[in-house]
């Protein structure tokens, strides 16, 4: 279970409106991406969902239960992997479940193995590459007891090759688990490749201006990038973004 409904979310800072009446739904097992220009309030939206901030107006519900302003209801992975440097990989991936209660090391080991991280259980984060650290952070999110995962531009700090590799890896792991994901990015191709649906955010004050449901079948692979259909979608979304920004 992991259905998130945002209703009429509005937030201002010092009388400057950042988010203006946002409505959206992420269904159970769905991968939804929010695409928008940098500084359009995407991070603010995550802080609101995660309960770090209170919206001025509007509510969030997760599985019909109101979670507005409540912390720990969703699992969140920030832009940087945010691993504890003094913990080994294994101890890091169980952190989410440790905070909420029970820790299952066998499950964690199994998951690390499936994520291509076997042999790194006892390594420390500083011994890993940037991509590997992101993998660890994502495994931590999957192992957390929450059914809903928020990912804030997780691949933005990686180089192009690692990024492609990571996208494919993310899809493979996610297609096995199907936890609902709300993903934020400013990369159109990434959004098209990963998501079931794309929501387009306008400039400030941000609101959702367009919504696209993508027809690409799963499982997807990188051949998708060069299909005519993909390129056509890319053009359409690019134009939609352009139209918004001007």
């Amino acid at each position: 279970m992991g259905e998130l409904v945002a209703t009429n979310i509005t937030k201002s800072f010092d009388s400057k409106k950042i988010l203006d009446r946002l409505f959206f739904t992420v269904k159970e097992g769905e991968f939804v991406t929010i695409l928008g220009p940098s500084g359009s309030g995407k991070s603010t939206l995550f802080h609101l969902i995660g309960g770090m901030l209170q919206p001025d107006d509007g509510t969030f519900t997760l599985n019909q239960e109101e979670i507005t302003g409540r912390r720990g209801a969703i699992s969140y992975t920030p832009q940087s992997p945010s691993l504890l440097p003094w913990r080994t990989v294994l101890k890091n991936v169980v952190l989410g479940s440790e905070i909420k209660g029970e820790v299952d090391f066998n499950q964690a080991k199994h998951m690390l193995e499936k994520a291509g991280l076997s042999g790194y259980e006892d390594a420390y984060p500083h011994q890993l590459s940037g991509g590997m650290r992101q993998r660890v952070a994502f495994v931590r999110a999957l192992l957390s007891p929450q059914d809903f995962i928020c990912l804030d531009e997780p691949f933005s700090a990686l180089d192009e090759f690692t990024r492609l590799e990571m996208q494919q890896w993310l899809l493979k792991i996610w297609e096995e688990h199907r936890k609902s994901i709300l993903f934020v990015t400013h990369n159109i191709e990434e959004a098209l490749y990963l998501s079931d649906r794309i929501l387009i955010l306008s400039k400030k004050p941000a609101t959702i201006v367009e919504e696209y449901t993508l027809p690409f079948a799963r499982p997807r692979d990188q051949d998708l990038f060069l299909t005519d259909e993909f390129l056509q979608w890319k053009r359409e979304i690019y134009q939609a973004l352009q139209g918004n920004l001007n």
Partner: protein, 264 residues
């Protein structure tokens, strides 16, 4: 072939110089000291030669061992109490910001009172026993611990804090799982300073009234112009400091194993 040998030799010498440069400097100073005191025939009560000091250190062993043991115990006791009090105060001040605002300036002021002025007062209040001595050592030790620990808490990575809060961590979990382990390296730098201070504190406290300890031995030696013994005392203070320091370094290495300072 021969050239290679010379080159190897040179790089070997360079390595020695790089790694043991401080030892070489100390040895050089001792040599100059030794020669100049012989050449200029400086009287022994004014500045004894290093060999004279060594001689006294070896031959007088029985006259000062009990002093040495007493000071070692006093330093360790004071150090343990000082570090515990320091950690406790730091944690309280960190968890209660209102108290920190009120008390922090007082803490700094307390360090401006010269110990040498405070010590006689403590003797008046608490007599010549162990208590005033432990109070003095605690007073010198706890401040570096409090400052270092509070800094360590404050420098908690905001990203990690953010992650933990979003994950629903309680205030207690934040402290145990993030803030405290994050502050450990800072705490250790405070502990290192406190360890060397504790020996100094012990010696100062002994000057003011005690029947044994390196401080007493030193005062006695000084008043009878046994300058060699004063140097023996100085030497042992240094050795004691170094041993404390080494123990803490080892402990730090064990506890902070595998850790590097990256927040990624």
């Amino acid at each position: 072939m021969f050239q290679l040998l010379i080159q190897n030799r040179l790089s070997f010498m360079k390595k020695i110089v790089r790694h043991y440069s401080s030892v070489i400097v100390i040895i050089a100073i001792l040599f100059i000291w030794q020669w100049s005191s012989k050449l200029l025939s400086i009287p022994k009560w004014l500045l004894p030669a290093p060999t004279d000091i060594l001689n006294e250190a070896v031959n007088g062993w029985n006259t000062y061992t009990h002093h040495l043991v007493s000071t070692t115990y006093l330093s360790i006791g004071g150090f343990v109490i000082g570090v515990s009090v320091g950690l406790l105060v730091a944690v309280i001040l960190h968890l209660l910001p209102i108290v920190r605002q009120a008390v922090y300036p007082l803490l700094i002021l307390s360090q401006n009172i010269p110990i040498i002025v405070l010590a006689p007062l403590l003797v008046i209040w608490f007599g010549f026993g162990v208590l005033p001595k432990l109070i003095i050592i605690t007073l010198v030790c706890f401040f570096p611990i409090v400052v270092a620990t509070l800094d360590g808490f404050r420098q908690t990575s905001p990203e990690l804090l953010h992650y933990m809060q979003m994950a629903g961590a309680t205030k207690g979990q934040l402290f145990r799982k993030l803030e405290f382990p994050h502050a450990l390296p800072a705490i250790f730098s405070g502990v290192k300073i406190a360890a060397t201070y504790s020996v100094m504190g012990a010696v100062i406290s002994e000057w003011l009234g005690a029947n044994k300890g390196i401080g007493v031995y030193m005062t006695l030696a000084q008043s009878s112009f046994r300058t060699d013994r004063v140097f023996v005392a100085i030497g042992f203070i240094m050795v004691l400091c170094l041993i404390f320091f080494a123990i803490i370094l080892t402990l730090e290495k064990v506890l902070l194993k595998g850790r590097m300072h990256t927040n990624g």
